[in-house]
């Protein structure tokens, strides 16, 4: 234990970090000026000179008009809900809220037992599906091809995580199995899928699988894509779990044996809880990446957030306002991804403290 360093005042710390040497000071001032200029440009264009309401769209064409947020005002329903029937948009909204609530709730430590987490996700997913599809609740039926926009992104994301997580655990267990056949099949599948771009896997599911399966097995395109995406997620997640398994010392297995527990009991009661804990930061990272990667489904022909955004400025008078629309969509993605990522950082720090 060394003596505490002398405390430094805020101003002194700023001076040391920003103006340590003359060159440091120059760089800091230059960066500050650059950021201030950029911020001013953004505020001036995006807030001060911006046109906000759909009725004022004509003002957007004036020479000194800034951002034309009228397009968002006029078209936000298309961007957020895609082709979902207009009168039923409340269902799409509540369904999206259900998924977001599920994600937020699963960030709370109280839910971190396998049983609670699984029930939570199944409940959230079922709420989503029942609201969106509608027929079991006696609402008007809306088929999956009408699902779009943000709700579709959330649907893809949550179903991929929900299906992919157990598949990943299964693959990880197979890969470290004592039985060579299980090991080989899992390794082959994992290495194969991981060397291919996600788009290739999804494209195969959308276009090639119908040729390889008899008619009665094909199902909707969206389900084929979700299953392929889950497989992709599972192959990466299996490697994350493998890292978690490697962190467990042999003594833990031997402890299970000494207590007289069977193989599966000691796996479920002793090993897996620790594996999940070790794998948690990397798992959250994987979940964040998955959210981001859902954006490629536009290429396979699903009507996701990006596709609905392109549709929003694709017609009539709105063609010129592509920038506003893309910024709006980028902000939505950014908000989701940054909050998930921040939470991951927070968790990592917390676990580091626990270890000490």
């Amino acid at each position: 234990m060394s003596a505490a360093p002398p405390t430094i005042g805020g101003l002194e710390r700023l001076k040391r970090r920003a103006f340590h040497k003359p060159l440091d000071g120059l760089v800091t001032l230059f960066v500050a000026a650059l950021l201030a200029w950029l911020a001013w440009q953004a505020i001036d264009w995006g807030l001060l000179r911006a046109v906000w309401r759909a009725e004022d769209a004509a003002l957007c064409r004036e020479a000194n008009a800034g951002a034309c947020w009228s397009i968002i005002d006029a078209r936000h329903r298309l961007i957020l809900f895609g082709l979902y029937p207009f009168d039923e948009h409340w269902r799409s909204t509540s369904a999206a809220v259900a998924i977001i609530a599920t994600v937020i709730l699963s960030c709370i430590p109280w839910f971190w037992t396998a049983r609670r987490l699984i029930s939570l996700w199944i409940a959230g997913f079922a709420t989503y599906y029942l609201l969106m599809e509608g027929s079991p609740l006696g609402l008007e039926q809306v088929t999956t091809d009408k699902w779009g926009g943000l709700s579709l992104v959330l649907f893809l994301f949550s179903s991929v995580v929900l299906l992919g997580m157990p598949m990943g655990l299964g693959l990880a267990l197979m890969r470290r199995s004592r039985l060579p056949m299980l090991r080989w099949v899992a390794s082959l599948l994992i290495d194969f899928i991981r060397s291919l771009p996600l788009l290739t896997t999804l494209f195969t599911a959308a276009v090639v699988v119908p040729i390889l399966l008899p008619d009665w097995l094909q199902g909707d395109k969206i389900w084929r894509i979700i299953i392929a995406f889950s497989l992709f997620f599972a192959c990466y997640q299996a490697e994350v779990f493998r890292g978690g398994f490697q962190a467990i010392p042999n003594g833990q297995y031997e402890a299970g044996k000494a207590l007289g527990l069977g193989k599966w009991q000691s796996l479920g009661l002793i090993i897996l809880p620790q594996v999940f804990r070790h794998a948690l930061p990397a798992t959250i990272n994987m979940v964040v990446v998955t959210f981001k990667e859902t954006a490629v489904v536009i290429i396979i022909g699903l009507f996701d957030l990006l596709a609905s955004a392109q549709a929003a400025f694709g017609t009539g008078d709105w063609v010129a306002y592509y920038m506003e629309t893309y910024i709006f969509v980028a902000l939505i993605y950014w908000a989701f991804i940054t909050s998930l990522g921040r939470y991951g950082e927070f968790l990592k720090d917390r676990m580091k403290q626990d270890d000490h």
Partner: protein, 379 residues
């Protein structure tokens, strides 16, 4: 690997599970073959690779080689493959350079550099790549036409047709030879120069000498050494035109990849023990010398493996080009599938190409890793 003793130690149940799994895999494979035969027969498609000799009859946005719509499928697929490699390698090199700059800035003690680099990472890492690429593409195609093009010193022009830059008046095959020569020189330098610094110096000096010599000796008679783009009527002539698709692809992937590589570099630098930096400083080394001779060589050992993953990621990420019509291998394959119907063969080619490229990249990273390994550390 698998000896008879392993089998003897297994219980009957364990053997049954394995046989069941193998049977399941075989069932899936044969079921797929069977229904493929049925489905293809119903569509009237003959399987096999003979379609590769047929001419395609369609055009696409970008090619490094001469092309026409009469090209056979084989050549068109080769062009797509070269486009993927081309964009992938350029993006890898540029993203790595930018990533090292960003990572070093994030690690620096200067507040200004820290703030701007972390803003960069927060923005570019947290927006989907495909969104960034289509956004860039939309920005670029809304540039003014060639007549009102933005110009930089009348040498570089930016218009909705792409970016025109001055170009050496060398024929394309000489340029390809130059690039190859420079790469070989780089590999040779890394192998035999002994230290990273000397390798870099040899490679830089050698490449510059090669280029100067080639320009002076090989430029065709009667042409200027450098050709500048010039507005002739409605279009530009001379110089090199970088099409909108290529620019959007490369810039998009580089900005995104550099944010990730920056984090890798920062992580690597953070793992170098603080005492090493202090030792360097107490020897009177300046901050650049500490970074270049002490921290970076140490950090590289932990940077290279995740950096290799990023390189493979970038190679795979070129497939998003299809969203803006860039003719990479994925684009060519998916267009070929719609046009020819030879789905299974084309998907096999696509997968095979990516497996090959990623395997080669992984081997290159392993080789680099082994070269850089500290003697006496690890296995």
């Amino acid at each position: 690997m698998l000896s008879w003793r392993d089998f003897r130690r297994m219980t009957a149940q364990e053997i049954a599970v394995q046989i069941g799994l193998v049977l399941l895999v075989l069932l899936v494979v044969f079921g797929a073959i069977r229904s493929a035969q049925v489905n293809l027969a119903a569509l009237g498609i003959t399987s096999g690779f003979s379609f590769l000799d047929r001419s395609t009859g369609w055009s696409y946005s970008f090619s490094l080689l001469e092309r026409s719509i009469d090209d056979p499928y084989a050549r068109t697929l080769l062009i797509g493959f070269l486009n993927t490699i081309f964009v992938g390698l350029i993006s890898i090199v540029l993203a790595t350079i930018l990533g090292f700059v960003i990572g070093t800035m994030r690690d620096s003690k200067n507040l200004g550099l820290q703030v701007i680099s972390s803003i960069y990472v927060q923005i570019f890492r947290n927006i989907p790549l495909i969104l960034q690429v289509v956004f860039l593409y939309a920005l670029l195609i809304h540039f003014p036409g060639p007549r009102q093009a933005h110009s930089v010193a009348d040498a570089i022009f930016m218009s909705n047709r792409g970016i025109m830059v001055p170009n050496l008046s060398l024929p394309l095959n000489f340029v390809a030879g130059l690039v190859l020569g420079s790469v070989l020189l780089g590999i040779g330098a890394v192998r035999y120069a002994g230290s990273a610094k000397r390798a870099l110096a040899i490679w830089l000096a050698g490449s510059v000498a090669l280029i100067v010599a080639a320009v002076l000796l090989l430029t065709p008679d009667g042409q200027a050494l450098v050709s500048y783009p010039e507005l002739k009527g409605l279009r530009f002539e001379g110089g090199l035109t970088l099409s909108v698709e290529v620019v959007a692809m490369i810039v998009g992937i580089v900005l995104y990849g550099a944010a990730y590589i920056g984090e890798v570099v920062r992580g690597g630098l953070a793992e170098v023990p603080k005492g090493l930096r202090e030792a360097g400083e107490s020897l009177g080394l300046g901050s650049f010398a500490v970074w270049w001779t002490i921290r970076m060589p140490m950090a590289l050992r932990s940077i290279i493996p995740p950096l290799g993953n990023q390189w493979i990621f970038i190679m795979k990420a070129t497939t998003v080009g299809v969203a803006i019509g860039f003719s990479d291998l994925f684009y060519i394959v998916s267009t070929s599938i719609t046009q020819s119907g030879q789905t299974l063969e084309l998907i096999a080619i696509l997968m095979g190409a990516f497996l090959l490229v990623n395997f080669a990249l992984a081997q290159a990273v392993n080789w680099l890793n082994a070269r850089l390994a500290l003697k006496g550390y690890g296995a």
